[in-house]
Symmetry: C2
Subunit: 512 residues, 2 copies
């Protein structure tokens, strides 16, 4: 649409973080508000030079926040635009969001096409979808509403929308075998990754592992690794570490793989709906973008884990494998026990200590973590053909016992920028059993929440140490947990939560 005289505005950075949704702020008395018929929460197109972004409009009253002729921009809006001093901004109505016609078609019960999904994901990454559009897309693809073709197209679209790491120069071969692993999560303390990567790399596999920080949990692998080394590496630095050591353990956020996923995850969390298709696409798009060719997916199954029944686990496993196949990567799945937290520590430094105890063959190393790590590492060694079928776990054990795994972790950390000792928080309190009996049930979700209230993961030394596990006998007065916090306030806060939720760790009669 052509216009006669488009009023220009001065862009102003408001310093307001609205997460991924770009927001523009206009004064109510601004002439453009009236001439364009803008009102609060209209979606507007903001153009500065050749750059543009679709933003949600907020209307500002008075003259305190904005000067006359200013348009305020949230951090997300600012980041999308290329603004230099003296630049002016133009605000217009958005063109209709064409890709929403595909979402609407899906809402009315039709299948999403390959082209439709690519158009949707392109618009999402460009910031064109508001929360309303994102929620509609996720709702329309909830549960098992996406079939295999749709999952494959969605994964492919999410890969295309971001960068993709090419490892072909690494080994000189055009198709190097790039290993990766992923755990569907939901188990506090389940920090097998550093152990698995160390064992795999020590046996000659190439495993450039990128991990996430915690989203809803007390620690992500990246948070745990950060207590041991530097994890924010550029793609170039990461490449050098992998060239030298065969593996790395870095934060994936720094290399921006599958940016659509980061946007969708926030809305998915708010809705708290499961979508198998979104989960498969989320995981595999990040792996493919990271250049992985062989991916092992660990699927813990348990009443309070993310996947709650073995049947559901098998179903998901099938889809992971099929979508991987369609997109040219090899995916293997491993269904594991997800009935309780893994290891003793929950929180970045506490989990790092468990990892070091396992790698150092310490007598107080948590046996369950050690067992799970060997199981996953064994499967990975077989998948990468470093071990013959059926011999992976033995090879993993040998690597651990010989000290070569610990040596590899240390070397990877040194290559990433140094090998640090994880420090625990100073304020602690022990929680004792009120009775004698058997540990009958541990609620993963409540235990995770307790660790978060104590400060994890923002406070890397905070969290909790579990002194017992499912099925163990405890005496009245015996220590069940130690809570770690950096401030007395956070410690008190966590303990009060425990008082209100003692059912998180249930001690039952022995006779039962």
């Amino acid at each position: 649409m052509q216009k006669t005289a488009i009023p220009t505005l001065r862009p102003r950075r408001m310093g307001i973080n609205t997460h991924s949704e770009p927001v523009a702020y206009l004064r109510a008395d601004c002439p453009v508000c009236r001439s364009e018929g803008f009102e609060a929460r209209t979606r507007v197109m903001v153009q500065v030079g050749a750059s543009s972004v679709i933003a949600t409009l907020n209307i500002v009253y008075g003259d305190e926040l904005l000067g006359e002729g200013d348009v305020g921009l949230s951090e997300a809006a600012w980041a999308h635009l290329d603004i230099n001093s003296g630049d002016t901004a133009i605000l217009t109505h958005t063109r209709s969001l064409d890709s929403m016609s595909h979402v609407r078609s899906k809402i009315y019960g039709n299948r999403l096409t390959h082209d439709g999904l690519h158009a949707i994901v392109t618009d999402i990454v460009a910031g064109n979808y508001s929360d309303i559009h994102l929620a509609a897309f996720l709702t329309a693809s909830a549960g098992s509403r996406l079939d295999l073709d749709e999952m494959t197209s969605l994964t492919d679209a999410m890969v295309s929308a971001g960068g993709r790491i090419d490892w072909s120069k690494l080994t000189g071969t055009p198709h190097p075998r790039i290993m990766d692993k992923h755990c569907l999560g939901g188990l506090p303390g389940n920090r097998t990754t550093p152990i698995v990567v160390s064992i795999a790399a020590a046996n000659g596999l190439i495993i450039p592992k990128t991990s996430s920080r915690a989203i809803t949990s007390p620690a992500g692998t990246a948070d745990t690794m950060e207590t041991l080394t530097r994890v924010t590496l550029t793609e170039e630095e990461m490449r050098k570490v992998v060239e030298q050591e065969g593996g790395c353990l870095v934060w994936g956020g720094a290399v921006s793989l599958s940016p659509a996923d980061d946007i969708l995850i926030r809305v998915e969390r708010a809705l708290d709906i499961d979508s198998e298709g979104q989960m498969v696409a989320s995981v595999l798009s990040k792996k493919i973008a990271a250049g992985s060719t062989h991916v092992l997916i660990d699927i813990p199954v348990g009443a309070t884990a993310k996947v709650r029944s073995p049947q559901a686990g098998q179903h998901i496993a099938h889809h992971f494998e099929k979508v991987g196949e369609a997109l040219g990567i090899k995916v293997r799945t491993l269904i594991t026990d997800g009935s309780q937290p893994v290891g003793n520590g929950i929180g970045p430094a506490l989990e790092a200590r468990d990892v070091l105890a396992v790698l150092g063959n310490s007598p107080d190393a948590p046996e369950d973590l050690r067992h799970r790590a060997l199981q996953v590492a064994g499967a990975l060694l077989e998948m990468g053909e470093a071990a013959a079928p059926g011999h992976g776990e033995a090879m993993a054990l040998e690597t651990l016992l010989s000290g070569r795994a610990l040596e590899k972790l240390r070397a990877i950390c040194e290559a990433q920028g140094g090998f640090f000792t994880p420090e625990l928080a100073q304020h602690t309190r022990t929680i004792h059993s009120e009775r004698t009996g058997i540990v009958g049930f541990i609620n993963n979700r409540l235990v995770a929440r307790l660790a978060k209230l104590a400060g994890a993961p923002a406070a890397p030394g905070a969290g909790l140490y579990l002194h017992t596990h499912l099925g163990r006998r405890v005496e009245k007065g015996e220590v069940l947990m130690t809570v770690y916090a950096e401030t007395p306030g956070e410690l008190a806060y966590a303990l009060e939560f425990y008082d209100g939720h003692r059912e998180m760790l249930r001690i039952e009669d022995e006779s039962v």
Copy 2:
């Protein structure tokens, strides 16, 4: 959950209009951000004294916008809270939104129960649903996903969530017959309501009409009536007018009927999805809340109207009637021609002039508007048993010709606060036909957009006057439209839009 020492904050009104979604602003360095693990777009519970609201969090950097220890509140958040000078605010995590479990259940394919819908609507009206939740609810009930029972429960829940006008004292009878009419819309200029209400009230029917302002159109009935009289009346004032004149023509927004509807409509518009169930509930909840017992629904059908096929019209008609029946009101439907704009004027004052021309039996009164109004008024007179079946339209015509209808409109306006003359905007331009031929097609949506760009409805005198209609023969150079605007800028803006969209009024060869 209990807490030790909850940090309190000073509430500060930011003067930011975020529409209906409450937003809270916290400084990134605020201790509560860290201790509670708040991040941008977390949903938080804000409590001030006994009042509370769930808000979306925005994180503010620097100290320009907020002082230390401040929590900023958007207009919507501020309005939900009861804040006096010196009050402190507490921010905590929201409890889980229990009613979302019903939405999730619907997403997974189950039916919504009566109790579930009541819980959802209660939370929506309390401001507990973010855009994400609202969009998921609307998506899950899109198309024909709500069955009759669900529509009925949703309508009932929307009525319960707001006020309801009781007219029983008016006539002394416990069950007075309260008439109402509604048009599904989509036709620019279709301003039959003032004419219909005048004819009905002149014949002794009770018709307390509440109307909306324009949402996406160049004028709502309330906007048009505002050029003739005062429309923002309290419920008490409205009651007095109806007692005296049998009818009124006021703005419904002032009496706050079906508040859930106002919240849902914005999100529905952004998604641009049709939901039959939401439409039925939206219309009928407002009518029932207004105390209506007999409602006539005008359903215009046409290629660019809201309902596009007679089949779809019949389907919707059936649902309106059935839901009305289930909730104890009588609903009749009338399927009418929706192929082109109605009347000549489009815009508040221009449409008011058409209304006056029809009521004044002026020779230049638009015949189509007159015809439609008589059709609707006739049906209403029969429904209200003021006319025998088959004699409604004749009675309506007689009322019009005798001048009693105009007299009634004038009396209603005087009772509401005065009878004004609608003033047209000063800047005008005529648009001429480029060729000789027959008017073959008029695009309702583009014509409406042209009137809006000229300034309607914010500028009540702005809009356009159509000098021709479908099927009419026009000569090259003949005037097709006159555009009215309050400023030269808006006039130019509208004309440029016309230049780019001349297909809005298609002149075809006569031989066709």
